[in-house]
């Protein structure tokens, strides 16, 4: 594995399968009473969050602590700090603190790569979400969740039909998932109003549909994305009601899905907008599992990046 995780493109298919099998092993091991492993003892992991995100931060924190790493939480809502200084100066502070890994969430696409390429720090950089670009560990935990739900496939998604529904244009979860799911052989369909699909999406290895209804019955996995209400002021869709009517996963649609099909959502959900409460809570929903799988997946990523000799350490 490369020594940073900035994008799904940093992972080969073997790397992905390795992460999934490691997460599965970790799940078995941590079923026991103590849940803690000594593997990353002595390593310092910094959560560098420029954007609020309690859930992702707690997930990474839990993962790091279960491997006995020291965790430092740095929450820099840097909008008041002048641009540029926040990223560079913060990074240099972390270097001085001896961070082995920096988990960064930032509002600007490419921020994780800037940090990794800058030469300001020697730590491993893990992208926890950069603007609308990527969120690799989310895609990994989604893939792990799907692999667990279809165990007979042994993480081979060839022929698996997956729909990603919602604001593709602004979604880093969608971008990472498209890269990852197609890497594993799945057939991915993006479902969205034309205003929420990026110009250039025709070059992606996916199918496009403007309608949720016409295809629903064929999907094995339906992944719903959160709709941000601020989008309405930029004319992406007329109002919530119309969006929900045309693209929401309501009960009618849920019932039309295949029996074994599953419903996913990266959270947080707008219950009643892109997904009805009943759909979110139904037996087809694996949304709660995604959270637990998130900790395991992030433990696997931290172990595989930091558990052995890192770049620069003597072997």
């Amino acid at each position: 594995m490369k020594n940073h995780l900035l994008s799904i493109n940093d992972l080969t298919k073997e790397d992905v399968l390795s992460i999934i099998s490691t997460a599965a092993e970790l799940e078995k091991i941590t079923e026991g009473p103590t849940k803690k492993l000594p593997t990353l003892r002595g390593r310092t992991i910094v959560n560098l969050f420029f954007e609020d995100s309690t859930r992702t931060r707690i997930s990474f924190e839990t993962a790091a602590k279960r491997l006995s790493a020291d965790v430092i939480n740095f929450s820099a809502k840097g909008s008041s700090v002048s641009k540029g200084e926040s990223l560079k100066d913060t990074a240099q502070t972390l270097q001085a603190m001896g961070a082995d890994a920096v988990v960064i969430r930032h509002g600007s696409s490419g921020a994780a790569q800037r940090l990794a390429d800058s030469g300001w720090i020697s730590a491993t950089v893990i992208n926890a979400g950069d603007g609308t670009h990527e969120h690799p560990t989310q895609a990994l935990l989604d893939a792990f969740t799907i692999a667990k739900r279809f165990p007979e496939r042994k993480a081979d998604f060839t022929g698996l039909r997956i729909a990603i529904v919602g604001d593709i244009l602004h979604s880093r979860v969608a971008r990472s998932n498209v890269l990852l799911l197609t890497k594993l052989g799945a057939q991915v369909t993006l479902v969205a109003p034309p205003t929420l699909l990026p110009v250039g999406v025709e070059s992606w290895p996916v199918r496009i549909s403007y309608e949720l209804d016409s295809e629903l019955e064929q999907f094995d996995v339906v992944m719903m994305l959160r709709i941000q209400l601020e989008r309405m002021t930029n004319f992406y869709f007329p109002n919530e009601r119309e969006y929900s009517r045309r693209y929401g996963l309501n009960e009618d649609r849920l019932l039309r899905m295949k029996k074994e099909a599953i419903v996913m959502h990266p959270g947080p959900m707008n219950r009643g907008l892109e997904i009805s409460a009943a759909s979110a809570d139904s037996s087809r929903s694996v949304i709660v599992d995604q959270v637990g799988n998130g900790v395991l997946t992030r433990m696997a990523v931290l172990y595989l990046l930091l558990g052995g000799a890192t770049l620069g350490e003597v072997s």
Binding site: P33, G308, A309
Partner: protein
């Protein structure tokens, strides 16, 4: 290089170990075999098969020790191997760890830590096919297939039918 044990030797050693396990644990009702992957796991399965022929059904599983190793930082991250506890678990049981070679003792130290994460056995015993000396920690085996004095510059290579297509133990390197 010289072959120290061949198929017949290995079979005999495992049979003897199996009898010793029966002797030392009156009745095998609380014994659980846990093999350390990769080859320890195959050996544990063979011992379980022998015990079954002798009339006792003993639960057998595997215990991966990778995450508890003390030498992780010396090499790039290693893939995890399977940990499969048998039905009934290890709580309050007499666990017999099975490995192919006992050397510095660090693998077994890691195995004891890994075991500790999973529960609290009543006792932990150790069965090894080969003890080659040069302990770095106060660890000893309860059941030994063969004592093999070696120099620390040599290495011991264990091949098993299940994965290497042949049963053999060899000593490699200068004396």
């Amino acid at each position: 290089m010289s072959a120290v044990l061949e198929t017949a030797d290995i079979d005999r050693a495992l049979k003897r170990i199996s009898h010793e396990i029966i002797e030392r644990n009156q009745g095998l009702t609380s014994v659980v075999l846990l093999g350390i992957p990769t080859r320890g796991a195959f050996l544990a399965q063979r011992i379980a098969d022998i015990l079954k022929e002798l009339g006792s059904q003993v639960p057998v599983g595997t215990l991966d020790i990778t995450l508890h190793r003390d030498d992780l930082r010396l090499r790039p991250p290693r893939p995890l191997l399977p940990t499969l506890l048998p039905v009934g678990g290890i709580e309050g049981k007499d666990v017999v760890l099975v490995d192919d070679v006992l050397f510095s003792g660090r693998t077994i130290r890691a195995a004891l830590d890994a075991l500790g994460e999973l529960g609290r056995p009543k006792t932990v015993q150790l069965a090894v096919l080969v003890d080659r000396g040069h302990r770095e920690l106060p660890i000893r085996a309860d059941y030994v297939g063969k004592n093999l004095p070696t120099s620390s510059k040599e290495s011991v290579k264990v091949s098993l039918l299940e994965i290497d297509n042949v049963d053999r133990v060899e000593i490699l390197g200068e004396r």
